[in-house]
């Protein structure tokens, strides 16, 4: 503490010292504008090669100074999350806070060191920044993105995962889903750019339901989900999430866990309420039209749900004992518990869809009968015929197809749990079967002895990264870049699978044509070989007549964009016509349903169909 009260009267002479400045150099700077500091916040620069047009800069802008401009001749790529638009800046609004730079998910925006713009032309204050700057003078970058300056939350909320030991002990679900807090935090990471919506095959309103979740309005989230997806429990667990690939946040950090958020929304709303939300908006009057759907897989169920909501009478014919198709019989329970699938199907049933199980076409009911009873027929029977590598020994009975093994596990049938098994294939199915069988091995023998042989190298695996990682944790050995050569059979039982090194997968034209280095050979001891190298459609149930009447293209049924075949009453959707996954099947189901509905609307009601 110090008292600084002046005690003196001052001096008249001391100020005269200031006159010394008459002989000193002035402090004045030259007239030329000085170069600005290295992180100066001058006019905007935008690297058009990096910019994806997400519009986050527009969102964060305090002053509504940023407008997105559609530029038709720019490249666009929905799958990769690129929109043909660029930000334009209004220098009648901008305050140079550089929040746009700090939030830019790609880091394309930065501020330059240029700071002089003087004009009487008002229009010159609205600019479309590019790499060269406002006057094209090529000023250096000033304030730009650094590793630590990001405003976005780049870290995903941790999703717990069962430890490998526990996971192996049964078919319990691997991930428990987010709790409410984690879900809200994760939802808050979303920047609402809508890239996911564009990338999603079925165009889910992800930004909307994420925003609703963040606001704590789960019912609204569910409603948003049901606008485009009646299999949300399923998709919330096993979707291949093209949305997350396109997610802008993922450009520099981890993408928003859109799939888990969808799952959280579905898990946190009671089934009754979901049902109520889902069938809200169902046509009150029956339309009097009847649609038959063959195959209760994702495409069929989706189409059925859509059509039922429009008021049509829908019947699904399912050959297996339970509906769900590949979702039930192809995907292991630890990834998609059956009760969740059942919940989705219950909602679909609640919308008025009739599902007839154990009803195979050609066996229990004929195609002609169905056609006769319906105004339109949709076939969505999937791919159930397994492909084989056809190397020596694949005709052995202990060479199993993955799809049969998975089906048997679901059905609870005993297919003879192998002591040592080799799975051939590098896709998700390979891992599904490997991990399912591993669980059975663990239960029966107390240890896992499972090799997975993949043609692809580690960096180009078809399977999801997390699948590969978790499988390794569960004691499954992965062998990359190996192809099956032959199966060693001794005394009628398999002893080993011999593999050779795969050098290249594709030929010069990019077609699948693996080349092997025959000199390297590795033998995998096994008593069972499971092949997971693809499936094909079995269309024999259609009947010879119909098969001949329909148009085909390269062995696949020829359909138009909406899924309509060359027969005006027949539509096809799902894996059997276009792959590869559940969400695509759902999208195809929607398209087919829309098309059917449109056609039916112009069709006279068959007498006797009115309920």
């Amino acid at each position: 503490m110090s008292d600084v009260t002046p005690k003196y009267k001052g001096s008249v002479l001391r100020p005269l010292k200031a006159l010394a400045n008459l002989w000193r150099e002035p402090a004045t700077l030259p007239m030329e504008p000085r170069p600005a500091a290295p992180n100066y916040r001058g006019f905007h620069l935008n690297d058009w090669k990096l910019c994806i047009g997400c519009g986050t800069c527009q969102e964060i802008c305090d002053n509504a100074a940023i407008r997105m401009v559609q530029i038709p001749d720019l490249p666009t790529d929905a799958k990769a999350g690129v929109k043909p638009r660029r930000p334009a800046i209004d220098y009648g609004r901008c305050c140079w806070c550089a929040l746009c730079v700090d939030i830019c998910p790609t880091g394309s925006l930065s501020l330059s060191r240029e700071y002089i713009h003087v004009s009487s032309d008002i229009d010159s204050y609205f600019i479309l920044p590019d790499e060269k700057g406002i006057h094209g003078l090529g000023f250096e970058k000033g304030w730009s993105k650094s590793e630590t300056s990001d405003l976005l939350d780049h870290q995903r909320q941790e999703m717990e995962c069962l430890p490998a030991e526990e996971a192996l002990s049964g078919f319990g679900e691997l991930v428990p889903g987010y709790d409410t807090q984690a879900a809200v935090l994760e939802a808050s990471r979303c920047i609402q750019c809508g890239m996911c919506h564009e990338a999603c095959p079925t165009g889910m309103n992800a930004p909307e339901y994420i925003r609703a979740l963040w606001q704590g309005d789960r019912e609204k989230a569910v409603a948003e989900i049901y606008r485009t997806n009646p299999l949300a429990q399923v998709c919330g667990r096993i979707c291949t999430h093209a949305c997350e690939t396109a997610c802008s946040v993922g450009r520099r950090g981890a993408p928003v866990a859109i799939r888990w958020l969808k799952r959280h929304a579905m898990d946190s709303v009671p089934p009754d309420q979901i049902r109520e939300i889902a069938i809200a908006g169902k046509a009150e009057e029956p339309s009097g039209r009847r649609v038959s759907i063959i195959g209760a897989g994702p495409a069929g169920l989706t189409a059925a749900f859509d059509l039922a909501k429009k008021g049509h009478a829908v019947t699904i014919y399912e050959a297996r004992s339970k509906p769900g198709g590949m979702m039930r019989f192809g995907i292991p329970e630890y990834r998609l518990p059956y009760h969740n699938l059942d919940a989705d199907i219950d909602v679909i049933r609640a919308s008025g869809v009739e599902i007839l199980c154990n009803t195979a076409i050609g066996r229990d009911v004929s195609m002609a009968q169905i056609r006769g009873a319906s105004d339109a027929v949709l076939i969505s029977t999937g791919l159930w015929a397994a492909r084989s590598a056809r190397v020596p020994g694949t005709d052995h009975p202990r060479v199993l197809s993955a799809i049969r093994v998975l089906e048997a596990i679901t059905q609870g049938e005993d297919f003879g749990v192998p002591r040592r098994a080799v799975v051939v294939g590098g896709g998700n199915v390979a891992f599904d079967v490997a991990r399912s069988v591993a669980r059975l091995q663990k239960a029966r023998y107390g240890e896992v002895a499972m090799d997975v042989i993949a043609l692809e190298d580690r960096d180009h695996m078809l399977a999801d990264e997390e699948e590969v990682r978790e499988a390794a944790g569960e004691g499954i050995d992965l062998f990359n870049s190996w192809g099956p050569k032959s199966i060693q059979i001794n005394d009628g039982s398999i002893v080993a699978l011999e593999t050779v090194r795969c050098i290249s997968l594709k030929d010069a034209e990019g077609r699948f044509h693996p080349k092997y280095d025959e000199s390297t050979m590795v033998s995998h001891a096994a008593d069972t070989v499971i092949e997971a190298i693809g499936q094909s459609a079995d269309t024999s149930y259609l009947g010879k007549e119909l098969v001949e009447a329909l148009e085909w293209s390269r062995g696949r049924l020829k359909i138009d964009r909406a899924g309509r075949t060359s027969e005006p009453w027949l539509w096809a959707a799902g894996d059997m016509v276009e792959g590869p996954d559940v969400v695509h099947a759902i999208a195809a189901g929607h398209r087919a349903a829309a098309s059917i509905d449109e056609v039916l609307a112009h069709m006279a009601v068959k007498p006797g169909n009115v309920a």
Binding site: R67, V69, Q70, I71, P72, A88, I122, D123, F126, I127
Partner: protein, 180 residues
């Protein structure tokens, strides 16, 4: 800096004992929140000033709560002796929106009451000067009310600039343009 004190400081406790129906919440090392009924507030300020050395009225804040149709008035008083800030919260009904002035206890209240009167329309009985101050050219409702939508007012009153630079004309010619 953020350590939470377990209880109200003894000295303060002593003062607040004389008041009934006062809820005291320590909010930090030097912050105490006090909730009380509106009619008790002048007494509290008087007591705090007299016995606690809370001489400095740091400010009066007003918060509009449209759901309950109430204004929350917060009186922040600081003591140079115990180095503590007490925020006394009280709620008053939006209509008629009248309250007593504490100008006679704390002179700085003159400014804040005038400001709140201007921005929220609360009338302080006995305040020395409630004439318009900042908003002499303003003829609308008290602007800080939540019911006053500044964005809507601006949209209605002012026009936004319609830029049409050459680059935008070029893009428009190709079929693009500003997104709404």
């Amino acid at each position: 800096m953020t350590s939470q004190r377990a209880s109200v400081p003894a000295q303060l406790d002593h003062i607040l004992h004389e008041m009934s129906e006062v809820r005291v919440t320590p909010k930090g090392e030097r912050r105490v929140r006090v909730d009380l009924a509106a009619d008790r507030l002048p007494t509290l300020l008087q007591l705090l000033k007299g016995h606690g050395g809370f001489l400095h009225l740091s400010s009066i804040s007003c918060v509009d709560w449209p759901e309950t149709d109430e204004f929350e008035l917060v009186y922040h008083v600081w003591s140079y002796e115990s180095k503590m800030l007490i925020s006394a919260h009280t709620l008053i009904a939006k209509s008629p929106g009248r309250f007593v002035s504490v100008y006679d206890i704390h002179a700085p209240a003159g400014f804040y009451e005038r400001d709140i009167h201007e921005m929220y329309g609360v009338h302080f009985e006995g305040s020395p000067n409630l004439n318009k101050f900042i908003l002499t050219s303003w003829h609308g409702p008290p602007p800080m009310l939540k019911s006053f939508d500044t964005r809507a007012y601006v949209d209605e009153t002012y026009a936004w600039r319609d830029y049409n630079p050459q680059w935008l004309k070029d893009i428009a010619a190709k079929g693009g343009g500003i997104e709404e």
